[in-house]
């Protein structure tokens, strides 16, 4: 079976571009705090979601709706409505992270397929099987802290399908378990669906150096001809003891295209591309590339050469935790 390519869409135009470029599945979210890419100018209103799902279905693709922030106490109805509206729009599944919301969806929407978001950071078979047993979760998006052999070990012990990130931004922290952003800016991935929010970013270019600040903290300082990374906290340049550098993670992004055959052997069902904040042209290019790769793999042909580096942050890529040396 061909591995499933799961593509991001921050806008209806990106959804159409992804579908036309060969995405088996597209994931997107509503334009509010219910989804973990709650960025300015992005996401779908209810009408757009209905149209998007219809467009995807007409072209043989599926839509997953990410409702993967943690509902705010006293305002859970916003998340409950999102689940109901996703089902009504015809979504193939919803991607959830919060156990309270999973329990709600399992009880009130028994026919709705549930995927476990990477934000739940379910990193071993015991806990994944618990999500399957208690809520009927059918697929888990694995956190980006696991190596390929560990992924294989998980698949050997669970019936739940696994989906792994292969391209795009990389969280070095276990997702859904990080409050660096709210510590510095007051806005967090878990509560607000944003990390290192643009509203708190300042760039200062004095001709010689470009400083990128977040919430008043200097996160990057680059020279004239260097690339300009976004000031994501965990990829910043800091000092500790005698050391100065990218102490947590370099400003690189994930590219595991060459690991696709190994991931297939490890029993992975679906390959996920990060980037709902990226343009429709980016989405189309990346999707086309990965679709080619999985089709080649399915036909027993060699992987096409990688050429996605120029689209990546800092224009440098890593295979991340999939290779154990990353740790």
């Amino acid at each position: 079976m061909v591995m499933e390519i799961v593509c991001p869409a921050g806008t209806p135009a990106a959804l159409r571009a992804a579908v036309k470029a060969g995405a088996h599945t597209v994931y997107c979210g509503f334009n509010n705090e219910t989804n973990a890419r709650n960025f300015p100018g992005l996401n779908f209103d209810r009408e757009e979601m209905i149209e998007g799902v219809a467009f995807a279905k007409a072209h043989g693709s599926k839509v997953l709706v990410a409702i993967n922030t943690f509902p705010r106490a006293g305002a859970e109805h916003i998340w409950h409505e999102a689940v109901a509206d996703a089902q009504a729009a015809g979504a193939h599944a919803v991607i959830l992270a919060d156990v309270g919301l999973l329990a709600y969806a399992a009880k009130n929407h028994p026919n709705l397929r549930l995927h476990l978001s990477v934000q739940a950071a379910a990193a071993n078979a015991d806990v994944i099987n618990m999500y399957a047993r208690d809520f009927g979760v059918k697929r888990v998006v694995l956190p980006r802290v696991l190596s390929v052999p560990e992924i294989a070990a998980i698949n050997a012990e669970t019936e739940v399908e696994t989906e792994v990130f292969v391209f795009g931004g990389l969280c070095v922290m276990a997702e859904g378990r990080c409050s660096l952003s709210s510590y510095a800016t007051g806005l967090s991935p878990n509560m607000n669906g944003v990390c290192s929010p643009a509203s708190h970013v300042e760039y200062e270019d004095d001709g010689e150096t470009l400083d990128a600040r977040l919430g008043g903290y200097t996160i990057h300082r680059v020279g004239k001809d260097e690339g300009a990374p976004y000031p994501t906290l965990c990829k910043g340049c800091f000092k500790a003891g005698e050391a100065t550098g990218h102490l947590f993670e370099d400003p690189v992004s994930l590219n595991a295209e060459q690991l696709i055959p190994q991931l297939e052997k490890a029993g992975v069902t679906a390959l996920k591309i990060e980037g709902r904040q990226r343009s429709r042209s980016y989405v189309a290019q990346v999707v086309r590339n990965f679709r080619r790769a999985v089709d080649a793999l399915d036909a027993g042909q060699p992987m096409p050469e990688g050429f996605l580096a120029s689209l990546s942050e800092g224009q440098a890529t890593t295979t991340g935790a999939y290779k154990k040396t990353w740790r």
């Binding site: 921050g10 470029a21 976004y230 990226r278 980016y282």
Partner: protein, 180 residues
């Protein structure tokens, strides 16, 4: 994707020289009325701007001696073309071809930004909202312009295609290639 490196052409020198002398007030008026037409045709673009629909943006084509001050003005955009850097709370600067390529979805904004072909300053959230709103609108400024000129539409289209080919500046939305 045949060429992995984004290569961005510089605006033709003749255009840069001309803009040194062209009177800017009428140009501002024409562009404002054109922008209103585009906004009217793409209401979802204004919706996507959300709270940033009254922001003073500056689009600064670095290979031209002018800057474009643009306020979306809740669906009735006002454009002022000025010489020099312009005034505003959110600035996007880069070669004209990069700016036009961004509008037309030929390039990815983040990639241009990471490579510093585009430089943003000031209100980053507003800039992102504008970028995302434009990307979703699937604009084709060439087509809009041709549409606005009524009986001359065909000639204008031809002219734009010619200029586009000669200068390398994307003036229209590229055809979707390689559809699955």
């Amino acid at each position: 994707m045949s060429d992995p490196q984004i290569s961005i052409p510089t605006a033709p020198r003749v255009l840069a020289s001309a803009l040194k002398y062209v009177p800017l007030a009428p140009l501002s008026l024409i562009l404002s009325s054109y922008a209103c037409r585009v906004a009217k045709n793409h209401p979802s673009m204004m919706r996507r701007l959300g709270e940033h629909n009254k922001t003073d943006f500056v689009l600064d084509p670095t290979d031209l001696p002018i800057s474009i001050e643009m306020n979306p003005n809740r669906g009735y955009p006002r454009i002022t073309v000025v010489r020099g850097n312009g005034q505003g709370t959110a600035r996007i600067a880069g070669p004209l071809a990069a700016l036009m390529g961004l509008v037309h979805g030929a390039f990815d904004g983040d990639a241009l930004f990471f490579s510093r072909d585009l430089v943003i300053e000031g209100d980053t959230a507003a800039t992102l909202a504008l970028r995302n709103a434009i990307d979703d609108a699937e604009l084709d400024l060439g087509e809009e312009m041709a549409g606005a000129t009524g009986p001359f539409a065909r000639q204008i289209s031809k002219l734009l295609t010619f200029v586009e080919r000669k200068s390398g500046v994307p003036l229209t939305r590229p055809q979707e290639v390689d559809t699955w």
